[in-house]
């Protein structure tokens, strides 16, 4: 991924992670692994973690600590009602932006 893609991704990563959590609960490592599978290979584990800390602070997700066979208990994140509202707003904003940019591109031709 180039620098430009990384910059654009930064602004949308919150929405991407919430959309993923809307499907099912997950812990940090799973979320990073999923992003890598989707081609977001440049994302650092720590960056995803910082984002999870942020959405937890803003109460968009519920967090449950689950004991783990190896290492410390894992924090499992699941989206809550406030997070769903935020996600709806994210998709509305995304549609607006995508539509405007598409018009801009057509206008240039």
């Amino acid at each position: 991924m180039g620098k430009q893609a990384t910059e654009m991704l930064k602004g949308t990563l919150e929405g991407i992670v919430l959309a993923l959590l809307a499907d099912r609960a997950a812990y940090g490592y799973e979320i990073t692994a999923w992003l890598r599978d989707q081609g977001f290979t440049d994302i650092a584990e720590g960056t995803v973690y910082a984002l999870l800390v942020r959405i937890e602070q803003r109460r968009l997700v519920d967090v449950e600590k689950v004991p783990s066979a190896k290492g410390p208990p894992r924090k499992v994140y699941s989206i809550n009602a406030q997070g769903r509202e935020y996600l709806d707003e994210f998709w509305r904003t995304w549609s607006f932006l995508a539509e405007r940019l598409e018009q801009l591109r057509k206008g240039e031709k």
Binding site: E45, G46, T47, V53, S68, K70, K75
Partner: protein, 133 residues
């Protein structure tokens, strides 16, 4: 450096206890993770200027959670902090801006601009009256 710093900024014994627990957890990390967390911590102390003890210990606890988990998962340090460790540190730090000393100055700037806007409105209405007469 961090130890003296924390004594200055934390008044509460609870914060001090949590800070000691953080240090103990940090010491338990495998070598490469310990080297990395110490470097990130140092950067956060310098760049963060976090003046609230509670926010500071919360940040350090969140940081050591990350490194403990990564060590347990076998995620290498390079994948934890990514290609640009400064970028990671800044993204991480942004979550704790509530505790930053600079907040006072941010509030002061916002208040000053509001005052300027009030003054501008008063000036405009005076001018309006002057023109009207």
């Amino acid at each position: 450096m961090a130890a003296r710093w924390i004594e200055k900024v934390t008044g509460s014994l609870e914060d001090k206890k949590r800070y000691r627990q953080y240090k103990a957890r940090r010491e338990q990390l495998p070598g490469s993770y310990r080297t990395a967390i110490e470097a990130v911590e140092r950067y956060l102390m310098y760049a963060g200027a976090i003046a609230t003890g509670e926010v500071l210990v919360q940040m350090l606890e969140d940081l050591v959670d990350l490194f403990e988990q990564s060590a347990a998962d076998g995620t290498p340090v390079s994948a934890v902090v990514g290609e640009d460790p400064v970028e990671f540190a800044e993204t991480f730090l942004a979550n704790y801006s509530d505790g930053q000393w600079i907040n006072k100055e941010r509030a002061r700037l916002v208040a000053a601009i509001e005052r300027a806007e009030t003054e501008a409105a008063a000036e405009a209405s005076q001018e309006g009256r002057a023109n009207g007469s």
